[in-house]
Symmetry: C2
Subunit: 212 residues, 2 copies
C-alpha cells in the first residue's frame, strides 16, 4: 500500500486510458479485473499493465486481480482529476468553442471560469453558459479569480503576446492548441501541446504508407 515515489511520463500518459476503462467497468458493476484481461482489451501486454500499476500502491491481489473501483479512484487521485483547477480560455473561435464545451461536459480536473476574445463580433456571446469577455478585462479577472491554467485557442500570430501577458499575470500552465510551439523561456511552466496539424501529418504518413 505504500506509494512509490516516481512515476515516469510514459506511465502517466497511459493512466488516462486505464482510468476510462476502469470507469466503464465500474459503471457496469464489475468488481475485479486481471492484468491479462485489461491488457487484451487495451492493446498492451499484461506485463506492462502490472509494471504500470506497480508504480503506485497495491490494489492487486495475487490469484484474484485488481479491485476495479479502488484502482480507478487511485489513478484519478494521482492524475489530480478529483480536484478542480480554475482555468480560462483565450480565443473563442470554432476550436475555442469546441474546447469550452468539451471541458464543461467532460470534467477532468478543470473548471472553466472565463472566456476571452479580441473580436468585437464574439465578445458578449454566450459559450458553454459563459459570456465572452474582452481582453481589457483579463488582468482584473485573473487577479480576482486566480485561474491556474490557460487554454490557448488563439491564432498562431497572437500566441506570443498572449502568453507574455498571461505569464506576467502569474499563470504557469498552458493547454496549447495554437500551431505555435510555445517554447517557454522559463522553467517553472507546464505546457501541454495539442498540435492538430502534426497529428494530421503523422496520419498522412501512415495513410500514404498504407496505400502505396
Amino acid at each position: 500500500m505504500q506509494k512509490k515515489q516516481y512515476i515516469s511520463m510514459a506511465v502517466i500518459r497511459r493512466l488516462p486510458r486505464y482510468y476510462h476503462f476502469l470507469k466503464d467497468l465500474d459503471r457496469r458493476g464489475i468488481l475485479r479485473v486481471s492484468s491479462k484481461e485489461l491488457a487484451e482489451k487495451m492493446g498492451f501486454t499484461a506485463s506492462q499493465v502490472r509494471q504500470d500499476f506497480n508504480c503506485f500502491g497495491g490494489y492487486g491481489q495475487q490469484g484474484y486481480g485488481y479491485a476495479v473501483h479502488q484502482l480507478r479512484e487511485e489513478i484519478g487521485s494521482i492524475l489530480g482529476v478529483d480536484r478542480s483547477h480554475k482555468c480560462i480560455l483565450l480565443g473563442a473561435g470554432n476550436l475555442g468553442k469546441a474546447i469550452a464545451t468539451h471541458i464543461t461536459n467532460n470534467f477532468a480536473g478543470f473548471e472553466l471560469s472565463g472566456i476571452f476574445d479580441s473580436s468585437e463580433r464574439i465578445v458578449g456571446m454566450q459559450i458553454a453558459g459563459k459570456q465572452v469577455l474582452p481582453y481589457s478585462e483579463l488582468q482584473n479577472f485573473v487577479q480576482q479569480q486566480k485561474p491556474v491554467m490557460a487554454i490557448l485557442c488563439v491564432p498562431r500570430s497572437a500566441v506570443e503576446d498572449v502568453t507574455d501577458a498571461l505569464y506576467a499575470l502569474g499563470i504557469r500552465s498552458y493547454w496549447n492548441f495554437s500551431q505555435f510551439d510555445i517554447h517557454m523561456k522559463y522553467k517553472d511552466t507546464v505546457v501541454e501541446n495539442v498540435h492538430l496539424t502534426d497529428s494530421m501529418m503523422t496520419l498522412c504518413y501512415r495513410v500514404t504508407e498504407l496505400i502505396d
Copy 2:
C-alpha cells in the same frame, strides 16, 4: 542521397515539428541551418537532429549544415503532405466544425470532400464551404468520391456503428476525435487518436504536481 529503408515512429512524430520550423526559415529566406541551431530552437539535442535526418537522404553538408528548402521538401514528401488524400468528416458539432475549418485552412495532405451529420438541425448547413449531408447519402457518396480517410467527431456512443459502416464501405484510415478508443478488429487499418480528455488529464497531473 540514397534513402534508408526504415524510419521509426518516434522519428516520424518529430518530422512535422521539423517541417514547420524549416518552412518558417524558408519563408524568411534562410538557406542553411545547422543541427546545433535547430536543436536549440526546438528543444532537442544536435545529436538527435543529425540522427533523425540521417534516416533519409543526405541534405547535410559537412562544415556547412543543412539546405533548408530541400530538407523541408524532402520531409514533406516523406510525410506525404505533397499529396491530396480525400477525406470525409462525420459529426458536425462544435468540434467537427473546428476540424473542418482547420483542415481546410491548414493543408497537410488531406482535402475535405464531404461532411455528414445525423441531426436534422445540422444537415443542410454550410461548413467550410460545404453543405452538411445526412447519413442516408453516405454510401452513395463514398462509392462515388472514394475518400480514403474519415474524421470521427461523433459522440462516443455512435462511434462503433459509424466505424462499422465506414469499414464496410472500404475506408481504412481514421482520425479519431471521439473519446472512444476504436480498437480495430482488423489489421489493415490506420487510426490516429486525438484524445482531448487524456491530454487534459495529463495536464491536470502536471498542474497538480507544479502546485503541490
